[in-house]
């Protein structure tokens, strides 16, 4: 396993521990940030949509182990969101200082909607609730804030070791 992969695994473990411990105490208006979703979006921004999708799938699968929703729901949501944001930013967005919170917030909105829609179709009808719109919006704002810290962290982890690269980049 290359150093880059070790660093990326470290990112997943760190954010997973923070999400399941610290941030469960930092709930604001019923919402917590999706740290691994923001990390997947950061990965897509840094290394391309496919790398983001793979990272999102792995990160989502990890967080799914701690949720009561079906295993694979967050994995699918994170992967699709990261892929979508990766494709979108590749064609449109240029590097600015506000790129991290913008992509974090957009990722939060898209990820939240996908989670509710796919989860609802998968049999969790209670996810279709008006209150969840508020949760998605607050969570997206939270995601935008934490993106300031997560984007540099992922960039550090995803820097390519000499002679190696992710597929699809």
């Amino acid at each position: 396993m290359g150093l880059r992969r070790i660093r990326l695994v470290l990112v997943v473990i760190t954010l997973l521990v923070l999400q399941t411990t610290v941030f469960t105490h930092l709930r604001v208006f019923d919402a917590v940030p999706d740290l691994l979703l923001v990390a997947a979006v950061a990965m897509a921004y840094d290394s391309g949509p496919l790398a983001g999708a793979v990272f999102g799938f792995a990160g989502g699968l990890c967080i799914d182990l701690f949720l009561t929703t079906p295993l694979g729901l967050s994995a699918l949501t994170y992967a699709l969101t990261a892929y979508g944001v990766g494709v979108f930013q590749g064609g449109v967005i240029r590097e600015t200082r506000t790129i991290a919170p913008v992509l974090g917030g957009v990722g939060g909105i898209v990820g939240g909607i996908l989670f509710v829609v796919i989860g609802g179709i998968a049999g969790r009808g209670e996810l279709f609730a008006l209150h969840n719109i508020q949760v998605i919006v607050v969570s997206a704002v939270y995601d935008a804030l934490v993106a300031y810290a997560i984007f540099p962290f992922v960039r550090w982890a995803a820097r390519t070791d000499v002679g190696k690269a992710w597929p699809g980049r």
Binding site: T21, T24, F66, T68, A129, H131, P167
Partner: protein, 284 residues
């Protein structure tokens, strides 16, 4: 050739991820899988010691924050509680006479009671890590004999039920989670129903009423129902009626219930071993 192979692999990567995710969702949405439960259990076992440490670290901060935000209302709350204690003493005296007959009647009906269930005290170590669920994590698990489906209470009343168990921790789905319905009865009329919750709402409504013409009064106690094969022992306090409404065109009234337990501020809970795995089968 190398470039071709990599491109082909990349092209199929996203569909593979999507199909794998959908397969996992399908497997886990069905009857559940032992492998998935085992994976979840292992993950919880790894993280639960860290959750305990973080919970300890956050406790003083929560206490300070709670003290600052509630200081103004504490005196008023204290006066109210004194009044309530006085009222309750009177009610207790009234109820004592009726209450003496209850154990005998329950014995005759062969219904399990809350006294039949032994309890395990557990500490709440974390809330839900996700945005769309109402759960807490406790620091006791299958190693202490907990099982999925065991009811969870505090001194005030019902908290919820255990929905996932790991070796040293368990996930409790709270009473006001939209995914949980509890069989309840109104104390005055004995009308039974099932609690219904909406995402974001802390109050519950009672649906599927056994008597659609029932009248309920504000302040009336709502207890868990006393039926055979219930998931909860009978007569655990669920909450009190805070609103009753029935329009002319309604088939049944809308009865709103405020949970007896403050589900946003849980420190210690008691898990009831119910039904007791060591108890002899009933009805024989």
């Amino acid at each position: 050739m190398a470039v071709y192979r990599r491109d082909t692999r990349s092209r199929f990567l996203l569909p593979v991820i999507i199909v794998s995710s959908l397969l996992l969702i399908t497997i886990d949405s069905g009857n559940g899988s032992g492998a998935v439960a085992s994976l979840r259990s292992t993950a919880h076992n790894i993280i639960s010691p860290v959750q305990s440490v973080v919970n300890d670290a956050f406790q003083p901060l929560r206490d300070v924050a709670g003290g600052i935000t509630t200081y103004g209302s504490l005196k008023q709350q204290n006066d109210n509680l004194r009044r309530q204690i006085s009222d309750l003493r009177g009610q207790l005296r009234q109820t004592r006479g009726v209450g003496n007959e209850l154990p005998e009647l329950e014995k005759l009906l062969d219904l399990p009671t809350v006294q039949d269930a032994t309890g395990i005290v557990a500490r709440v170590t974390a809330g839900a890590p996700g945005n769309f669920e109402r759960t807490v994590t406790i620091d006791k698990g299958s190693s202490q004999g907990l099982r999925v489906g065991y009811p969870v209470v505090t001194g005030d009343g019902l908290v919820g039920t255990i929905t996932q168990v790991a070796g040293q921790s368990a996930t409790v789905t709270l009473l006001d989670s939209p995914s949980l319905g509890v069989g309840v009865r109104l104390t005055t009329s004995n009308t039974e129903g099932i609690t219904v919750s909406k995402a974001g709402a802390r109050d519950l409504t009672i649906g599927f009423l056994s008597d659609s013409n029932v009248l309920a009064q504000k302040g009336e106690l709502v207890l868990t129902a006393a039926s055979a094969n219930e998931a909860f022992p009978p007569d655990i306090v669920v909450g009190t009626v805070v609103a009753y409404a029935k329009a002319a065109q309604d088939l049944a009234p809308t009865i709103t219930v405020a949970p007896a337990v403050n589900l946003d501020d849980l420190d210690f809970v008691k898990v009831l071993r119910f039904p007791d795995p060591t108890a002899a089968p009933r009805g024989g």
